[in-house]
Amino acid sequence: MADIAVAGTPGRRGAYGSISRDRRWAMRWSYFFLALFAIFFLMPPFYMLITSLKSSAEISAAQNPWWVFGPTLENYVALLGKNEFLIFFRNSALVSICVVTITMLISVTAAFALARMKFWGSATLATGVFLTYLIPDTLLFIPLFKMFAFVRDTTGIELMNHWWTLIIIYPTLTVPFATWIMIGYFASIPKELDEAALIDGASWMQTLTKIFIPVALPGIIAATIFSFTVSWAQFLYPMAFTTSTNELVLPVGIVTTLIKGDVFNWGQIMTGALLGAAPPLIIYAFLMDYYIAGLTAGATKG
């Protein structure tokens, strides 16, 4: 009897509790790599912060570059005291806010039409919208020069060297991708929801504003963050199309005014970059909760 009882148990392999041990090891590896990535990605901002707190003398001194020995706010005072830096900041903010607004107005309505109002060629058009996103902006700025020249010749409106020109150009980068995000998001909303709204007496516009936009809020926030980041960080177009100090946006302004010939004002460059990186960070921090919270739960069977 004892033999039989023993024979019944050895079917089990490995030590008791091996699942939790496997899991523990998996967690250790995850934390190890996550820490590695965090260090890797936080290194540049950390270096920016360190350098922005140093005096020019300390930056060029031959000592450990990863520590501040004589912290000073002189770079901040100098930069924020300059009128031009505030102009760059204002230009960047205006451009980004306008671009985000224009982008969301166009892409949400376009995505709604492409995702829901089945019309002839809507699927092809949706793919076409995405394809335009795949064309790199480095290929586009020369044709854009030609177009600006054409506009000037025919209407007399000068588009070169104005910050507001960027408001017209950036949506060519943001609208296709934002539209594509929104098409995907709208497509995930059950068809019955708009049919219910249709029966309840909602027009297409009311279905969009009262049902789709609230339900797709996480998607809208994702698209907003995306277009804000793109227009805030865009470097090539403002570099190519704006030259006067008053018309520059932040990324270009920092580079063109703080690098004089071969003299790099590293302290102020790092301060400017750090201050420039702040607004997107703050926006992320505020919208992240909305972004993560799924709002469609409970709409249908769920």
Partner: protein, 366 residues
């Protein structure tokens, strides 16, 4: 409150005919159930009444007006969807009042109607909850509430109970019936479940392959099906179909099932069936409850025969027995105490007073 009439309604998707000419008159306050297998066109028909699908031909009349080109919101209908389709960002109150708000109904009127509907459905305490905080049955109630507050001419239900578990489904079925008895609005209800159809409907519409097979009260369909499809679709376990011949001997008709098994046709049916003597492809249709164990007292038109039972399924209040006649698997319902056992011979009784004779070529009940 309104009548609904469908006249030769057709739906064509590209070249495929989903609905092939449906004629139906639905009376005011009537509860109509469209039932059929998936792909039979029942949902499409409902969606055409709702205005969610354009019709490719024919007319739909609601309350005396042809509504072919009228958008859904102007048809004065309300619809309950299979997956409820509640607005996830609104609470129950807002969900129910959305339609009225769009119609610019006064605020106190909205409030009165929502509270009244909530009371009918017993969801008053849920009014400020979001859909994701509700159970399946509660969501279903809210979806019904959203329909009731609109006080529409017609209620449309598209398989509203399919997403619920079996127990809740039976409960909500009763609930829907109660609500209809209170509210008395013309209702069109689509389901693939024949039990739901039988229990809820004033009249059942059985659809198959885009056409109406038969319209009638649940009892009509059960006892007097006009086609083999309806005979087989309504009732569970399904009606038995046994290939047979009709023979005439000495002025009496006999139903021959196999070389060794034949039974006299009930006298009341003789005149009706005489014309089909010798006709090929005939089938005897007999429901499982008309095949029972033998009993001491025998009624007219009942006949005993011996069969080897192949499978026995005890159901508690009855036992289902399965055997084969002429290549067809037959199901009978016997008393659990009748001693049915698989592999053993058993004396069974067929009650031919409830038989159906079916022409398998045309699919018609003769």
């Amino acid at each position: 409150m309104a009548q609904v009439t469908l006249r030769k309604v057709i739906k064509k998707y590209d070249e495929v005919l989903a609905v092939r000419g449906v004629d139906l008159d639905i009376a005011d306050k009537e509860f109509i159930v469209l039932v059929g297998p998936s792909g039979c066109g029942k949902s499409t028909t409902l969606r055409m009444i709702a205005g969610l699908e354009e019709i490719s031909g024919g007319d739909i009349v609601i309350g005396g007006d042809v509504v072919n080109d009228v958008p859904p919101k102007d048809r004065d209908i309300a619809m309950v969807f299979q997956n409820y389709a509640l607005y996830p960002h609104m609470n129950v109150y807002e969900n129910m009042s959305f339609g009225l708000k769009l119609k610019k109904t006064p605020r106190d009127e909205i409030d009165r109607r929502v509270k009244q509907a909530a009371q009918i459905l017993d969801i008053t305490e849920l009014l400020d909850r979001k859909p994701k905080q509700l159970s399946g049955g509660q969501r279903q109630r809210v979806a019904m509430g959203r329909a009731i507050v609109r006080d529409p001419k017609v209620f449309l239900f598209d398989e509203p109970l399919s997403n619920l578990d079996a127990k809740l489904r039976v409960q909500m079925r009763t609930e829907i019936k109660k609500v209809h008895q209170k509210v008395r609005t013309t209702t069109v209800y689509v389901t693939h479940d024949q039990v739901e159809a039988m229990t809820l409907a004033d009249r059942v519409v059985v659809m198959n392959a885009g056409l109406i097979e038969q319209v009638g009260s649940p009892n009509d369909l059960y006892h007097s099906p006009t086609t083999k499809f309806v005979a087989g679709f309504i009732g569970s376990p399904a009606m038995n179909f046994i290939p047979c011949h009709l023979e005439q001997a000495a002025g009496a008709l006999r139903l021959r099932l196999t070389d060794s098994l034949s039974m006299p046709v009930p006298a009341s049916r003789t005149a009706r069936y005489t014309a089909f003597v010798g006709r090929p492809n005939l089938m005897l249709g007999l429901r499982p409850e008309h095949i029972m164990e033998t009993r001491p007292h025998i009624e007219p038109d009942q006949h005993d025969f011996n069969m080897t039972i192949e499978v026995v399924e005890p159901m508690g209040m009855e036992t289902l027995v399965y055997f084969t006649v002429n290549g067809a698997e037959i199901c009978g319902r016997v008393n659990p105490n009748a001693g049915a056992a698989a592999g053993q011979s058993m004396k069974l009784r067929a009650d031919l007073s409830n038989m159906h004779l079916i022409d398998d070529t045309t699919g018609k009940v003769l």
